[in-house]
């Protein structure tokens, strides 16, 4: 199994959710987070004072998926979340050792 994690712009959450659902995914975790990347949180047009608080609100989406569709899921997120403007975010994939469904005790792919 793989954990697909995405940091995206808050206003894109619904687009990403809908796209993942349409692809057949039925589980994810969504979190409100803060962060910044290379541009330091600023936009193209920036008028404020020199030093700025560079932590912008973002949304983190996490979902555990079988290995064979991890790349596909990442692509779906990328396409749904992209605006083309600075601050779009990132997606990454990491391995998952073990997963258990709490209610039933199922393991592995059945628990996904």
């Amino acid at each position: 199994m793989k954990l697909v994690t995405a940091i995206i712009k808050p206003h894109k959450v619904d687009d990403v959710k809908d796209a993942l659902k349409a692809a057949g995914l039925h589980g994810m975790t969504v979190d409100e987070v803060k962060g910044f990347g290379r541009q330091g949180g600023k936009t193209e047009i920036y008028r404020g004072a020199e030093y700025v608080v560079d932590l912008l609100p973002k949304v983190k989406i996490e979902t555990v998926v079988p290995d064979d569709i991890a790349d596909q899921v990442a692509d779906i997120i990328v396409n749904a979340a992209r605006t083309g403007k600075i601050g779009d975010g990132k997606v990454w994939i990491s391995p998952v050792e073990k997963i258990i469904r709490i209610r039933t005790g199922e393991l592995g792919d059945e628990a996904v």
Binding site: R38, K42, E44, I45, R47, G48, A49, E50, Y51, I86
Partner: protein
């Protein structure tokens, strides 16, 4: 095709350094910016791209941000233009500081925000409408000058806050080259102050330009190597940076850096002092007449100056009188006075009583003396008084233990000693002895021996008689005796106290060494003094004083261990563990390895052992007493410790495994250099009458004490007392040991095995 920036060739060409590198890099970036502008369809009028801040000064280090503004006429929509310029820069991975504003918006921000105000002081046109750039530049400077008082006030505050936070470039082991005191930012601030109307005095400009080149070159090489934005000259980079700049080694380089930083710091201090005076203005300064201080010296408006008619060429004492006045009043010395004092007639040698008295008075003034010495040294007025200073000037002691360069350490120590003069009969010897105690450093050989030799010349030159010279030499020779003995030796041991008493010789000397110990330690670093050390030195001094006053050694060392209460507990013949405050006593059937088990459990619970003592009673019971300190600045969790101890004593605790786990968790990622490079074992069979003294030095870590004591137990050695000390990152542990029959170890082979076993266990510890 978007234009790219190619810095590689420039970065790789090591012949470009310092200011010239920064200019070349800035030129390259300029070209790139202009290409981007043209590519984005940047207009000739109505909008302009300007460089600001450091980039505006055409000064780009390898890790520097590029700071630019897109200035535009308010009516013009420049959104798309901005995008076409910023995106390629972001995509290139270059760190960009940007803003899009009209001239009016920028000035409005600059009128209230110091950082914007200073950024636009170095506005430089890159592309587009030159008119707009010039408008911003001119109006920015006008605005700066209009609000100069407010900005100077705020900058003064900021400079001091920044120094406090970032430390000193001249002294830190890993200085912050930009923000530290004596660093690049200080020079920028001086430049801004000049634009606000505060002039530099003659000679200052060249002095800081030269120093700036040294610090900037260091920063350029540092960032070339790390590829990052950081300005902190890490220890592991210092060798490479030194080599790149053509220095023989890192010590020579750091000395040059320290010298440059001291110059910048001094000129900066002088300037901000003048700013303060300017700001405080005539309403604060009453137009007073000059206040006569000492002969030929006056206080004028809070500064020290030469009186009318004072002639340095005829009066050799003027320098010292000026210095003493400045120190006593914590006042600065007028620049014109410093300039005139250069013509001073040299002091006749040997010094007269007057000269000696003034010299001592300088340091008796306490803290302010440090700054006065710095001022005199910066102006070349100190060396004629004290020629040996040149060897130790700005000489770094590059380890985690020593905070200052040698020269500064000595002036700090001497200033510290002023507060302790009530402990001694001879304040003059205290102050001078403290000033000279490390004078032998920076020369080949043992610094104590070299110091004693140098004092044989210096003291008579200063007019001290033969007896006084001997005392000063004693102070130098034994300046580490008290702290070393107190922290590494058993103060209840007759031999120890006798040894110190014989070395010191007289009560006068003892008192002087006591005060010197404290003054020296306080001027060394945070690890060098504390209540534990102070207490131990106090005990040692008391006991030695008792002996030197004619008392018996036995009386002095009757420390009463074990106490009657402890003897009663021993008689009960059962396991007892008592913990009170920072001491724990463990009574248990005597068996090998007891000491090390307790040491291990203490380490497992995050406790550092400071000292320990052990006693074996005739009824086969043993008592071990440990004094500890929590590593985490919290209350000692005795309940948990005692639980673990019970298990360990029953043999139901896997100490080795648990300590190994713990040491992995608490492993320090970076090792700052200590004084100890490799583990060492020193055997002393002369000091104590009853036991062999083993001194073990090694890099500190979790479980080191446990390993050492386990190695000792492996060889059936009985530990009767121990002093455990951590100096910075080193452990210096001393053990008084006896063999299983209660005797000193004199057998050569046996000692060899002990050494072997200890070194083996220490090598294993450091490889974890």
């Amino acid at each position: 095709m978007t234009p790219k920036l190619d810095r590689k060739a420039l970065l790789d060409d090591s012949s470009n350094r310092g200011v010239s590198f920064c200019t070349l890099l800035s030129d390259k970036v300029d070209t790139w910016m202009r290409e981007l502008w043209t590519n984005a369809g940047g207009p000739e009028s109505g909008a302009a791209l300007v460089a600001v801040g450091g980039y505006g000064r055409a000064e780009l280090s390898p890790g520097s941000d590029i700071d630019v503004y897109l200035i535009h006429d308010p009516k013009r929509d420049v959104g798309a233009l901005a995008e076409s310029i910023w995106y390629p820069i972001w995509d290139e991975g270059v760190k960009l500081g940007h803003a899009v504003r009209s001239v009016k918006e920028t000035l409005s921000l600059a009128s209230d925000d110091l950082d914007t105000a200073t950024a636009i002081l170095s506005v430089r046109h890159l592309a587009g409408d030159q008119r707009l750039s010039e408008e911003l530049s001119t109006k920015g400077r006008d605005l700066w000058q209009k609000r100069s008082k407010r900005w100077l006030d705020e900058m003064d505050v900021r400079v001091r806050a920044r120094h406090l936070e970032s430390g000193e470039v001249a002294f830190l082991l890993e200085p912050d080259l930009k923000n530290g005191r004596g660093g690049l930012r200080d020079v920028h601030a001086i430049g801004w102050a000049q634009l606000a109307g505060v002039p530099l005095l003659p000679g200052d400009h060249d002095a800081i330009a030269e120093a700036y080149e040294v610090v900037l070159s260091a920063r350029v090489e540092l960032q070339r190597r790390t590829g990052r934005h950081s300005d902190i000259l890490l220890l592991e980079e210092q060798d490479a940076v030194a080599a790149a700049l053509g220095f023989d080694d890192a010590d020579v380089f750091m000395r040059a850096l320290s010298t440059a930083a001291r110059t910048i710091a001094w000129v900066s201090d002088e300037l901000w002092f003048r700013v303060r005076s300017l700001l405080d203005g005539p309403s604060r300064r009453k137009l007073r007449r000059d206040e006569e201080a000492l002969v030929g010296v006056v206080l004028r408006d809070g500064c020290v100056a030469l009186a009318a008619g004072a002639e340095p060429a005829n009066d050799p004492y003027l320098v010292l009188r000026v210095a003493v006045t400045a120190a006593r009043n914590d006042a600065r010395i007028e620049r014109s006075t410093l300039d005139r004092l250069v013509e001073s007639k040299p002091l006749a040698t040997p010094w007269s009583e007057e000269a000696r008295r003034l010299f001592v008075e300088l340091f008796l003034a306490g803290r302010p003396a440090v700054e006065v010495v710095e001022t005199l040294d910066q102006r070349g007025l100190w060396e004629p008084i004290f020629p040996e200073w040149s060897v130790i000037r700005c000489r770094p002691q590059r380890n985690a233990y020593h905070r200052f360069t040698i020269d500064r350490h000595l002036s700090e120590a001497a200033a510290n000693s002023a507060a302790l003069v009530d402990r001694v009969d001879r304040p003059d010897l205290l102050v001078v002895g403290t000033l000279l105690h490390d004078i032998g450093k920076g020369r080949p050989g043992d610094h104590t021996d070299v110091g004693v030799e140098l004092i044989a010349e210096i003291a008579p030159r200063m007019g001290f008689d033969a007896d006084d010279t001997l005392i000063l030499q004693q102070m130098c020779r034994h300046h580490l005796l008290l702290p070393d003995t107190a922290t590494r030796r058993d103060l209840s041991d007759d031999g120890t106290i006798s040894f110190v008493a014989e070395s010191v010789g007289t009560l006068t000397c003892l008192r002087l060494l006591d005060a010197l110990t404290e003054a020296d330690s306080l001027a060394t670093g945070t690890a060098a003094w504390g209540s534990w050390k102070e207490e131990l030195v106090g005990v040692l001094v008391d006991r030695v004083a008792h002996v030197l006053s004619g008392g018996s050694v036995a009386d002095a060392t009757d420390g009463g261990f074990p106490t009657q209460h402890q003897r009663d507990l021993l008689a009960q013949r059962r396991r007892i563990i008592e913990a009170v405050d920072d001491q724990i006593v463990v009574i248990s059937p005597d068996r090998p390895g007891l000491f090390s088990r307790v040491a291990g459990v203490l380490s497992l619970n995050g406790l550092t052992v400071l000292e320990a003592a052990a006693h074996s009673a005739e009824n086969q019971m043993a008592l071990e007493q440990f004094r500890v300190q929590s590593n985490f600045d919290s209350e000692i969790p005795w309940d948990r410790v005692i639980r673990d101890l019970e298990k360990a004593l029953d043999g139901r605790l896997a100490l080795a495994a648990r300590l190994e786990e713990r040491s992995k968790t608490y492993r320090r990622p970076r090792r700052l250099p200590g004084l100890v490079t490799h583990p060492e074992v020193i055997v002393d069979n002369h000091l104590s009458h009853d036991a062999t003294v083993l001194e073990v030095r090694a890099p500190d870590g979790v479980g080191v004490l446990w390993r050492i004591t386990r190695a000792l137990h492996e060889l059936d050695l009985d530990i009767t007392s121990a002093k455990i000390q951590t100096i910075g990152t080193d452990a210096v542990d001393s053990f008084y040991v006896r063999d299983s029959e209660g005797r000193k170890i004199t057998d050569h082979d046996y000692l060899g095995e002990i050494r072997r076993s200890l070194l083996y266990s220490l090598e294993r510890a450091s490889s974890n």
